[in-house]
Symmetry: C2
Subunit: 145 residues, 2 copies
DNA sequence: GTGATAACGAGAATCATTCTCACCGCAATC
DNA sequence: GATTGCGGTGAGAATGATTCTCGTTATCAC
């Protein structure tokens, strides 16, 4: 779904599959997310949408859309930016993120091994697991040169 | 250090050990953190400090102090509150947090096993690790009854 | 003590996010 | 074809946590 060459129909299907009504604005937000290889803030996406196509879309609509899409598990939110959220159109299976502190490159992590550890910790403290966030930050090889 | 019966001298030592100058306000913030078993926001701590001893301490000072203490690794910050940070006076060794989504009980996690996984992931993608956040959320046994 | 420096307090400023509300688009109904 | 219902939208105001400013004050080495 990430590929930038996804068609409008692909996006409409994606929304429908997650019980989200299709609107022009929601499609535009998705299209903008799809061409972003890393992540982007609501503010950034809004500015791009305005500039790119002179599209008339409200800031509040961008926030509403992202928050809805996040709730419906269509996009992921990353919190590595301290003070504002970032959004990303990711793969559909559960994963975590590895972010370069310098160039903000985002890599999806789906390694095995973590879930065992998680399960053990929740069990040991007699907690019923409801959520977890794991965010890894580092310097990618390009940024170390 | 967490025990609420820590003396003023203990707090002064703690600050000195982390290269933080001792002031009345910083001691008051520490004392307030020490009697909080879980975590607290800057706003909350400020209100308590004002009410408790009618202490005259500025909100900006509470923010400055917490941010300094966090930078100097005297307190931990938790981000599970979406929109504001929580602070906690924790143990001095590296650990993570398990938080009850209902009663906000905080448990420090120092299980082994995670760091191996982390190292492997960073290495596999040729990243130089600089930081990581792991926050587990669940329901504690009391809150499931 | 004295002076240099760092910390404070109060209130203003910032800035991401959310709220309000009048208006619009679309679909089902008359 | 007009009407009505309703969720979605846009613009701007409101919110609220955090940071900044600046005149004042505490701290510390000498
Ligand atoms: Zn996971
Ligand atoms: Zn990089
Ligand atoms: Zn760790
Ligand atoms: Zn609980």
């Amino acid at each position: 779904m990430k590929p930038a060459q996804a068609t409008e129909q692909d996006f409409a299907d994606l929304l429908a599959r997650h019980d989200v009504q299709v609107t022009r604005q929601r499609l535009e937000v998705l299209r903008e997310l799809a061409v972003e290889p890393n992540d982007a803030t609501a503010q950034t996406l809004w500015k791009r949408l305005r500039e790119r196509s002179g599209a008339t879309i409200g800031l509040a609509t961008v926030y509403r859309t992202l928050s809805l899409l996040s709730e419906k598990r269509v996009v992921d939110t990353l919190a590595h930016n301290e003070g504002e959220l970032c959004y990303r159109l990711c793969g559909e299976t559960h994963h975590h993120h590895l972010v370069c502190a310098n160039c903000h490159r985002v890599i999806e992590i789906d390694e095995q091994g973590l879930s065992d550890w998680l399960e053990r910790v929740f069990a040991k403290h007699d907690f019923l697991a409801t959520a977890h966030t794991v965010e890894l930050t580092g310097l990618c090889s390009d940024c170390r040169k």
